[in-house]
């Protein structure tokens, strides 16, 4: 009898332990549950002062869902942005949505892959004037069509080089960690501090917020 009672106690203890483990793991999973969205979680200009970093500046234009990525022209290390640009340059690159996304997330990815060009070009036609340069009109299209584009210098008083536009990315956020994806390929991975004044990328490089806006890009988009 005593042995039976001991066995029952052991068995119940074991079940309790399993329950605790199960409940705890579920809690952790819910805490880390990620959200997929097109809303950019930050806004403004973030600058990396390190001379050896690949990315010098990030400008999050939240209203337009566009990120300007400005590269360090003196960087000589392993490049990540240009290879991505080469891979993503064709907006028709079709990537099968991951199966573990929910229906809403899948719809977001599919919309990213197959934008409504008729609607986009009609919208751009509304924005521009008869004398708008072709290059500027195409830039406005790029702001609306998901992709990673090279931003060619044109008609700006201070031509910029090594600039890319990440347009309409899908952002997966897990707490303070934010993953910017294009066609299911990661482009940027950033961890923000609590007040979003500092961002840290996967290489441990720090970007500090220096301004709320980038006037020359704002002026172009808001014309």
């Amino acid at each position: 009898m005593k042995k039976l009672l001991n066995f029952k106690a052991l068995y119940l203890g074991f079940l309790s332990l399993l329950s605790v483990i199960f409940i705890s793991s579920n809690s952790v999973m819910h805490a880390q549950e990620s959200s997929l969205t097109t809303d950019i979680p930050f806004s403004g200009v973030y600058v990396n002062q390190e001379a050896t970093s690949e990315i010098k500046e990030l400008y999050f234009y939240a209203d337009q869902k566009v990120v300007l990525i400005s590269l360090n022209p003196d960087y000589t290390g392993l490049e990540t942005i240009f290879p991505l640009y080469s891979a993503l340059n064709n907006p028709e690159l079709v990537v099968t949505p991951q199966k573990n996304h929910d229906a809403e997330a899948e719809a977001l990815v599919l919309n990213q892959i197959m934008p409504d060009y008729a609607q986009i070009y009609a919208a751009v036609a509304e924005e521009i004037t008869p004398s708008t340069p072709f290059a500027e009109a195409e830039l406005r299209v790029n702001f609306k069509v998901p992709g990673l584009y090279r931003l060619e210098a044109f008609n700006w008083s201070t031509p910029r080089s090594h600039n890319y536009i990440l347009s309409q990315p899908l952002i997966e956020s897990q707490g303070q960690d934010h993953f910017f994806n294009m066609y299911n390929l990661p482009v940027l991975a950033l961890t923000s501090n609590l007040n979003d004044e500092t961002l840290v990328n996967e290489r441990g490089q720090i970007f500090e917020k220096t301004a709320d806006t980038l006037p020359e890009l704002d002026a172009l988009i808001d014309q």
Binding site: P91, E92, Y117, A118, Y121, A122, V124, A125, I128, T129, P130, S131, T132, P133, F134, A135, E136, A137, E138, V145, F154, N155
Partner: protein, 204 residues
């Protein structure tokens, strides 16, 4: 007497002064009527041939990637395709320069190459069909906006300025002479200024 001299002088001036005609695809009885595909048999030329679309005012310069002759012409087209209309204007013309010569150059350029961006984008947005790729839409725009555009197997010269000069048809793009063809009434063959002949392909 003086009156007769004045009248005679006026008449003489009128006869001697050449007419200032506008953008020229027609000069007198001559018209640049080439339409369709023209190919050369010379396989070592970088330029395999031309496709003329008279109605759309387009010229495709078809590239032979295995060729190695006439490279300078391809290089020029490539340079113009990279430069584009906007950078050409910025580099060569200054709309804010009030000098007479610059204003004259700019107005002449606008007369030949101006386009209404808004109207073009409106028109193209209505031509877009489901399933069209971005590159298909871009091509619709390129057909309507003057310039030189590089594609995998050809260069598209859109809305060129063509005129006759000393028995040669001159094709200009972005204010730059890019092609020259000998004047001929035979529409089955066209000869460029390297002496290379291109024969018209039958429509299939």
């Amino acid at each position: 007497m003086l009156k007769r001299i004045a009248v005679f002088s006026l008449l003489l001036i009128t006869l001697v002064t050449p007419s200032t005609a506008n953008a020229q695809t027609e000069v007198g009885a001559q018209s640049f009527n080439y339409d369709g595909v023209y190919l050369t048999q010379e396989n070592d030329r970088l330029i395999k041939g031309f496709e003329f679309d008279k109605d759309q005012e387009l010229i495709k310069v078809i590239v032979n990637h295995q060729g190695d002759r006439n490279r300078e012409r391809i290089d020029l087209l490539h340079q113009l395709s990279v430069q584009g209309m906007d950078l050409y204007v910025l580099s060569n013309l200054n709309p804010t320069d009030t000098s007479e010569k610059m204003q004259e150059n700019f107005q002449e350029f606008q007369k030949r190459y101006s386009y209404d961006t808004k109207a073009i984008y409106q028109e193209v947005s209505q031509l877009i069909e489901p399933g069209m790729k971005r590159e298909d839409v871009t091509f619709l725009l390129q057909e309507r906006i003057p310039g030189v555009y590089q594609h995998q197997d050809f260069y598209l010269i859109s809305q060129p300025y063509i005129y006759l000069s000393q028995n040669l048809w001159i094709v200009e793009a972005l204010g730059t002479r890019v092609l020259r063809f000998e004047l001929s009434n035979d529409l089955e063959e066209i000869t460029d200024d390297f002496g290379v002949s291109y024969l018209r392909e039958d429509d299939n």
